[in-house]
Subunit: 247 residues, 2 copies
Amino acid sequence: MKRFDIENYIAQLSMDCVIFGYEEKTLKVLISKFKFGEESWVLPGGYIRKTESINGAAIRVLKERTGLENIYLEQFRVFGDDHRIVGHPFNAVMMDELPKFDAERFDPEVTAWMTGRFVCIGFYALVDIQKVSPKNGEFDERLEWRSIDDIPTMVYDHNEILRNGLESLRQNLDEKLIGFNLLPETFTMKEVQELYEAVYAKAFTASNFQKKILDLDVLERLEKKFTGAQNKAPYLYRFKNSIQVNF
Amino acid sequence: MKRFDIENYIAQLSMDCVIFGYEEKTLKVLISKFKFGEESWVLPGGYIRKTESINGAAIRVLKERTGLENIYLEQFRVFGDDHRIVGHPFNAVMMDELPKFDAERFDPEVTAWMTGRFVCIGFYALVDIQKVSPKNGEFDERLEWRSIDDIPTMVYDHNEILRNGLESLRQNLDEKLIGFNLLPETFTMKEVQELYEAVYAKAFTASNFQKKILDLDVLERLEKKFTGAQNKAPYLYRFKNSIQVNF
């Protein structure tokens, strides 16, 4: 393979993405087992081309890993400590293994570029987990959906990035009504409540919750869901607005 | 003067700061009349040294311009459009005037570096305006405190950066109780209310406002303010916590 074109990317600036999905009443994050090192987990991320906006870079990286376009996406914080990468034990692993992996593609100059200091822009994304077909990037051994209660220790400051992303999701869930991006197109009120409970890691009272959500006037009520038991069939709802993208 | 050391800074990454102050019942922002171009206004900003964190860079730039340390400071968004600088009319002005200003310090390589694409991290700061002695940076003709109702058209996307900073301030004022950083050490309840009214650009009812603020249990009541009129003297308050810095 040809040399990695560091000339095409902004140096020392990267983006990592906390990709949230939701299934089986559980909030999950898509993380990557890296090809380098042992038990080395990372958030999916990438570099920013000199010819694309930072949001364009995030959209591109997300499409590469999930196959999806039109994802709800939001930048939430920059991680810019000068020692977040350089001096970290995993960095020595990268310096050692990158050239062995592909000496032509990752020559000494490219390896030095990749293992130097990076300021990282944190994005989070909300996806319908059923629609995602995770696809490995060049350095991913495999991608896994992991419950937020079951996140391994990741390299560098990636656990801190994830924690910050989750905190932003919680702050924005109510305020910007972004949670519906985690659900399929139609859903029951109980499913909305279960989603909120999974995100906030606490229980809500069904009657209060339903009233609060309906009062927002953002849901369209559809036909009853067919369950076989006619009397207990719950209504299906659909979010009135289209996907909101924050830029 | 010696050549500007581009080697010491991260390329293509900058920071700009919305410095908020408050006086005469008015929320103000410290902006700079630039030395280059005509009627060219900018937010104070700077570059990030390879050996300092992004927060360290913001603290350094703020100290250079205001003389203050221990400022409440928060990053609020990254501005990363690929066309935010390159192609903007002011960029041509910079390319033309920088070398004329000091050909030795800003040689062709430095001029090209400074007028290329930059991704910009937006910070906002809250300062006690009485304590600030604005000090020009190398490119500032003068710094001015301007009311948020009287902000001129600034270069590049600096008006957008300011609008986003103000929006973040409004969101955080209640949630994180950061407004007290804009007041002197002791203040009356009326002064707190006037501050909130200036930030939100709307009026509050005095009794409701006082109850809401006191219920937060973050203020310490001190002696009455001496006004000469014994009966009407208002109480002075002090914020219980010290300055909060978000990193």
